[in-house]
Symmetry: C3
Subunit: 108 residues, 3 copies
């Protein structure tokens, strides 16, 4: 067994959770902050069999990977030269994942 600790952005948790549910993978969530993803994020604790590790890594990569996204900033109300707002590219998502060895797993 292995413990997968995945720190992901809050906005990616519903896509991640849906995929984990689909594969019947049980994950416990904790609210965290700081780290590589800055500000508020969510850490998943997932206990899996050794042969399931790669599948879970693929799910996390598929749903949480850092990517560029165009967002249109709101037009500022005062003192703006132009009254049009252009979309800017920002980076969203991203995940930090640690795989830890486990001595034993119990369900009572």
């Amino acid at each position: 067994m292995k413990l997968i600790l995945a720190i992901v952005q809050e906005k990616d948790t519903s896509a991640l959770q849906a995929k984990l549910n689909e594969k019947k993978i049980i994950a416990t969530q904790l609210a965290t902050k700081g780290g590589f993803l800055k500000a508020k994020n969510v850490t998943y604790m997932i206990g899996v069999k050794d042969e399931e590790v790669q599948g879970v890594l693929d799910i996390i990569k598929g749903t949480c990977q850092a990517r560029e996204q165009y967002v249109t900033p709101p037009i500022s109300l005062a003192g703006s030269i132009s009254d049009t707002s252009y979309p800017v590219e920002v980076q969203v998502g991203g995940a930090t994942v640690m795989v830890l060895p486990m001595d034993s797993f119990h369900r009572f």
Copy 2:
């Protein structure tokens, strides 16, 4: 040394904490959600000597194990055929426990 991560139901934490105190076992708690126990739960982080692992597992099993409990649902106010409420059996408690190896433990 080992790190025991125990995810338990909130309702079982006072019994668990009392037993851990009795054995002078120090545990740090974090609020978690989801996983096998669904909804809100509590994760205990307990750093112990190798020979203490089994004792802690026994305490968690003894205080948090899944069990059946009879609860009497409240009588519904409107449109109910009978005005008596019968007790129903529900499952409460349950714990997911992971034992992880530890390289070193420090207290500063």
Copy 3:
């Protein structure tokens, strides 16, 4: 790679965070309670290379170590024999640190 779990007092987090930033060490924080430090505390999760472990332990010790501090208790309003409040020595700070082995570390 190793995972360092450090449980520290909330009052020591700004000094600790400043030192970690200075060394460009990324740490994720979670709100915890209980344990050796009692009441509310903060747990840091820090994934580091094996050769960085000692440096991080030194930083935690340097910023969070238990120490004596003189505090002047507020003068009680009613029924006090003396109207002067003398400083008393209390212990502040302290940290519990666990170093765990890691199989792999990923950033997506």
